[in-house]
């Protein structure tokens, strides 16, 4: 038994060495692939979540995301909905759009902002959303900000 444990220990030590040598060339890629294929995603509280629908406007489009709801009573970032106006370079100086968030044909929000200063407001048309007034980043859940090729607007859910 002692000898068997010794052989096993030594074998594992050599396997560790082989792992170390192979890691940069093979294992790192395999492990990376395994992690990536585990179905993980960055939390929607950071990314905004998934696009639910796209509303076309003249010269630009509005990407409307699924709401990022409250998943924990203690969560740091309030629940919000994200909308992205893109491409940012083709937006008029003053954007004012009524947005139908849930696709029922009835506008849920009136979003107005200056595409240069990023000052604006979100006026809810029903009680599911909160109003927002300001410029730039107020919090993670309330902001009007340029992100890559779009202008992201987030407003809090009730």
């Amino acid at each position: 038994m002692k000898r068997l444990r010794s052989i096993l220990g030594n074998t594992l030590a050599w396997v560790s060495l082989a792992l170390a040598v192979l890691t940069p060339f093979l294992l790192l890629g395999w492990f990376q692939h395994a992690v990536a294929s585990a179905g993980l995603r960055i939390d929607p509280l950071y990314t905004g979540g998934e696009i639910a629908r796209v509303a076309q406007r003249e010269g630009y489009r509005i990407e409307i995301y699924r709401p990022a709801p409250r998943r924990s009573p203690f969560q740091k970032i309030d629940p919000f909905i994200q909308m992205v106006w893109c491409p940012a370079d083709r937006l008029p100086a003053r954007v004012s759009d009524e947005v139908d968030v849930d696709g029922d044909g009835v506008p849920d929000l009136l979003v107005t902002f200056d595409s240069k200063t990023l000052a604006g407001s979100v006026t809810p048309r029903n009680t599911r959303f909160r109003a927002m007034h300001g410029a730039g980043v107020i919090s993670f859940a309330e902001l009007i900000a340029r992100v890559n090729d779009g202008i992201v607007v987030r407003t809090r859910l009730r």
């Binding site: 002692k2 444990r5 010794s6 096993l8 220990g9 030594n10 594992l12 030590a13 050599w14 560790s16 060495l17 792992l19 170390a20 040598v21 890691t23 940069p24 294992l27 790192l28 890629g29 395999w30 492990f31 990376q32 692939h33 395994a34 992690v35 990536a36 585990a38 179905g39 993980l40 995603r41 960055i42 939390d43 929607p44 509280l45 950071y46 990314t47 905004g48 998943r71 924990s72 203690f74 969560q75 740091k76 970032i77 980043v137 993670f140 902001l143 900000a145 340029r146 992100v147 890559n148 992201v152």
Partner: protein
């Protein structure tokens, strides 16, 4: 090291700086390895590599941040687009939300992108591979943050504070438990937001209100206290010993690692030189009686180097203690050094390239 050199010299980078940096790094790593072989001492030479990694990592990282976005602070816009580099420190905080909701509570990206090469999958893969090979040896060969405090701890000849209440060693476990629970509850990386001292020398949230100003104050205070001042006073890695939740998390993997340090009690005359040498409070009377260091041992080899009677030895689990300590040392060292050269060496060379470019 030869393979690493071939990879570094064949990289299609313009200018002579990358080649000079690769040559200097190669010479440095070869010299250290040669000295480890010649003197039979591990920690003494590993420490030079580790301190170089610790001090040069922020140089390259900050350089990259400045080049990419012009500032060390990360604005919310960059977080939304997934441009925050993923750090291994987040792993314990991410486990519970990932297991429950399959989401990573960190504003990075799962796969590398042009604007964020340090993606979740890559860092987790690197950590997984290194952990399988080294267990908590990660904290001695892989953690670029640990190198900073090890560098400061190496400066004084003698510790000004030598008596440390051993109850402090439970602190990292308490911090680990707290941040795992709080991160799962708040769906945010609590340690990164509030406690990480290394934000001071990497990146930090843009200071835009009272809360972010307080966070920044905490980062700087913890860095100056635990990473600079206390290591200078105690000659210990105090951030690792008293705060680091990742170190506590990594300790668990010492159970599965095959390499360890053991005590041959027949040779030990308790001179406690090992206890004094240990940078993480992993050796004490209880450890000497049980014949092995505490779970927090990071396999740096300081105690083995310090023992005048060769009572502390490298050991392969399952084998007889003291039967072939040099073989155990070499197998552990080859494994750890292979990863250290590939990843740490690349970080050192990249940062040196930036410095050479700055001077030239």
């Amino acid at each position: 090291m030869l393979v690493w050199a071939l990879l570094m010299f064949s990289r299609p980078e313009p200018g002579v700086a990358p080649r000079i940096a690769a040559a200097v790094t190669l010479l440095f790593m070869v010299t250290l390895f040669y000295q480890m072989m010649r003197t039979y001492e591990t920690h003494r030479w590993r420490r030079y590599f580790f301190a170089a990694l610790g001090f040069l990592f922020p140089v390259g990282f900050i350089w990259e941040l400045i080049a990419l976005r012009g500032t060390m602070s990360i604005p919310v816009e960059r977080m939304i687009s997934g441009d925050t580099p993923f750090c291994f420190m987040v792993i314990p905080m991410a486990i519970v939300p990932a297991a429950i909701g399959r989401t990573v509570v960190f504003p990075g990206s799962i796969l590398p992108t042009a604007s964020n090469p340090h993606a979740v999958a890559m860092m987790v893969a690197l950590w997984l591979a290194a952990t399988l090979v080294m267990g908590k040896g990660w904290c001695s060969y892989g953690c670029f943050f640990g190198g900073i405090e090890e560098g400061f701890a190496a400066v004084p000849k003698k510790a000004r504070i030598s008596k440390i209440d051993l109850r402090w060693r439970w602190m990292p476990w308490a911090v680990l438990a707290a941040i795992v629970l709080l991160s799962a509850a708040t769906l945010s990386p609590v340690y990164c937001s509030w406690l990480c001292p290394f934000k001071t020398v990497t990146e930090y949230p843009q200071v835009r209100n009272f809360e972010t100003a307080v966070q920044m104050g905490i980062f700087v205070t913890l860095f100056l206290g635990l990473v600079v001042a206390l290591p200078l006073l105690t000659r210990k890695r105090t951030q690792c010993s008293f705060l680091c939740p990742f170190g506590a998390f990594q300790s668990v993997f010492n159970k599965i690692g095959v390499f360890e340090v053991r005590l041959d009690r027949s040779k030990c005359k308790p001179c406690v030189l090992c206890e004094k040498a240990c940078p993480t409070l992993s050796i004490g009377t209880d450890a000497l009686e049980s014949g092995k260091p505490r779970l927090s041992c990071m396999k740096c080899g300081a105690c083995v180097d310090a023992c005048p009677r060769d009572a502390l030895v490298w050991h392969i689990k399952g084998t007889e203690v003291g039967a072939a300590p040099e073989r155990a040392r070499l197998l552990h060292l080859y494994s750890a050094w292979a990863l250290a050269v590939m990843f740490g060496g690349s970080i050192i060379a990249t940062s040196l390239t930036k410095l050479i470019g700055l001077v030239a």
